[in-house]
Subunit: 304 residues, 2 copies
């Protein structure tokens, strides 16, 4: 790895393809085979729990993030989608400005879309729209879904757009708490089966600004967020998965009710697919063909 570019080893090995934008790479077949095999492991576990698959594109209604307070808590991470709504005259002025590489933002209008900051956001309103939860609550598998965070960085473990595979549990408070406790161990085990050495750490979200520090402190105090951290060679300690307990944050905004009409809690478990893939390549070697048999066996599709 050169000192200048923390992704140089992965780029030189042909695993990542630079785009000229920080935190935006193309991925080779070798990289994505591993990434998807990791996602499939999570998917297998989800199927064993009869999770329902809901695969959303990384767009959510702007109004929902306004309602959820996301704009207040994470203004620095959010990407909003703008578009042109003008007529022919404005289109020409916009094009001329753009082709001179000058500022053409005045011609762009905010749309009703924002980029999904996490794979689970579209799940809560979709489940709520069905009415009360079935008995026992619900479990949703988001599949390998893109999320966007506006954090330009040269670090290959901090991408602006990346895949999360999330399991989302919705139900009675005790059932959700039990699910979360059970998955704490199962998620650690899943990562250990891949030859990684994860540890669970209490964590907080990167809330914005001074008041955000208070929110983060309260989140820590209540034990609402747990990160599974792996020491990635070249990148240091990195959260590759997180277990997040939302209490009734999503449920109250979207009117989620249990079958008995009781208040609902939600919790999610998010695996960062690209981060886990980078951890695997840097831990076991840049050629997946040479990885330990046990790791290749755990990543089933790599066997074929």
């Amino acid at each position: 790895m050169t000192a200048g570019d923390p992704a140089a080893d992965l780029v030189d090995a042909g695993l990542l393809v630079p785009t000229g934008l920080p935190g935006v790479y193309g991925r080779s077949a070798a990289f994505d085979d591993v990434r998807r095999a990791v996602g499939a492991l999570v998917g297998d576990a989800a199927r064993a729990e009869h999770a329902e698959a809901m695969h959303f594109p990384p767009l959510v209604p702007r109004r929902q993030l306004e309602q959820l307070g996301y704009v207040r808590s994470f203004p620095h991470l959010l990407g909003t989608v703008f578009a042109f709504e003008g007529g022919e005259r404005d289109a020409v002025r916009q094009a001329e400005t753009a082709e001179r590489h000058e500022d053409w933002s005045e011609f762009q209008r905010m749309t009703d879309l924002v980029l999904a900051p996490a794979a689970c956001y579209p799940v809560y309103p979709a489940v709520a729209a069905r009415g009360p939860l079935p008995e026992g609550g619900a479990l949703v598998d988001t599949g390998d879904a893109y999320a966007f965070r506006r954090e330009p960085s040269e670090e290959p473990t901090r991408l602006q757009m990346f895949h999360q595979r999330e399991l989302v549990r919705l139900g009675e408070p005790e059932a959700v708490a039990d699910w979360r406790d059970a998955w704490r161990g199962r998620a650690l085990e899943l990562l250990r089966d891949l030859g990684l050495d994860p540890r669970a750490e209490a964590a907080s979200d990167p809330f914005f600004g001074r008041s955000g520090r208070l929110l983060g402190g309260s989140q820590l105090e209540q034990g609402l967020k747990l990160e599974l951290v792996v020491d990635i060679p070249g990148s240091g300690p990195t959260a590759v998965a997180s277990l997040n307990h939302h209490l009734d944050h999503f449920a109250s905004v979207f009117g989620l009710r249990t079958s008995a009409g009781r208040a609902t809690h939600t919790s999610c478990l998010a695996f960062g697919e690209e981060r886990i893939a980078v951890a695997l390549f840097r831990t076991h070697g840049l050629d997946a063909g040479g990885w330990p048999d046990a790791v290749r066996a755990a990543l089933d599709p790599l066997q074929g």
Copy 2:
């Protein structure tokens, strides 16, 4: 299907999950198994031609689309990414405005990112960055990649974000023209193997405005765009794939040269995965389990 919602049959069958946004749906496992099987078919054909996989997230440098004239040709389709760059005081004002559901666009700044309007856009600069093409040129498989078009519509075949699987051919003009001619028939055959009845039609891109109509006319006249059109029950004639010959449009902007230093042409073949999946469900039935054996056999992963 109700008259009101042209996606009602797919939603009622649980294949698509509404989000409240036109042209933005969640997809069930049953829908996505079919969509991905279609992508895998294209991927198999690409592998047989020794295509290189390059899987990009749906973000491209804004500057590149400015250079390519995309802002002039398709201002109505482009989505640009904006984000917040201010300090604590602006963050509070932005949040308060957002939580009142009023216009907070003044706090958002244009970033260096736009949403990819097609899967192939990141491929050209990535290949150009390597220097002259290898002898024989190059062939790239984009994988199942998202593309964004700002065309809000209730029609389930016109999504704002959808998967394209694209094959991109770069090389000497004759080689690229030959590839395109060969794939015209192969792509038709691939769709016929799925029990669809496609036809190839000369087409033009939906250029913006009056001057756009001239561009479209010239594109038609030169025979640069071919669409594979299928009559989708409930949606009518729909382009489910397109073969696009760019001559030296991308090559000249990104400085693509052949191994002999000659001018380079590029051509791409794009399959619209969600459109083909909708065509299959509406042609063969909303339960893929009951599809003709030959169709299920062609979609190999559905067999298992």
